[in-house]
Symmetry: C2
Subunit: 118 residues, 2 copies
Amino acid sequence: MSDTLDPKIAGRLKRNAEGLVCAVAQQRGTGEVLMVAWMDDAALHRTLTTREATYFSRSRGKQWIKGETSGHTQRVHEVRLDCDGDTILLVVDQEGGACHTGDRTCFDADELLAPPPA
Amino acid sequence: MSDTLDPKIAGRLKRNAEGLVCAVAQQRGTGEVLMVAWMDDAALHRTLTTREATYFSRSRGKQWIKGETSGHTQRVHEVRLDCDGDTILLVVDQEGGACHTGDRTCFDADELLAPPPA
């Protein structure tokens, strides 16, 4: 197994100025959108080769293996790239809460617009 | 109806250097992740007040009402903000294909990692 990202994949990525692509993690089966984070090439490579969701923490400036500290890991079922190459979709099995607050998803706490009346 | 974003919402946003937040559009019911795009305050305001998904096109440098040209609109059912205020989740009813290629979602065409063998 190579220790760098497959050049055929690397060539399809459209990274931002920081060298990152956006990554959306979605729970397999339920379809819940769990969180959005960022990946550099090394994080994507590690995700694809280990099936452990791995991101790049912009605040800490380093690789971040999801759940390494909390135990709230994401087992990666499937990975897809979007049409313009700047966003990754991860279909995962989330262990526990995806959010650092303990919530199941990072979108649970703050509703900006409620569903319309039925 | 105000013509600018509610200050109580604006104050919770953590915009990037371009003044944008990330936005994930998800189909109501099926949970499909349709696309990821970007919003400035005006686009979010328009989305919240009209229930028509409205983004900011980084390539064109202007507001982009989804489906205005293609007819592939997104009727907004619910809007949520994530825990750190930099990502919006839109639950929508997508008319036709969300992707400019005609695909249902922007993630249909390029699989980077297939599901593991059953």
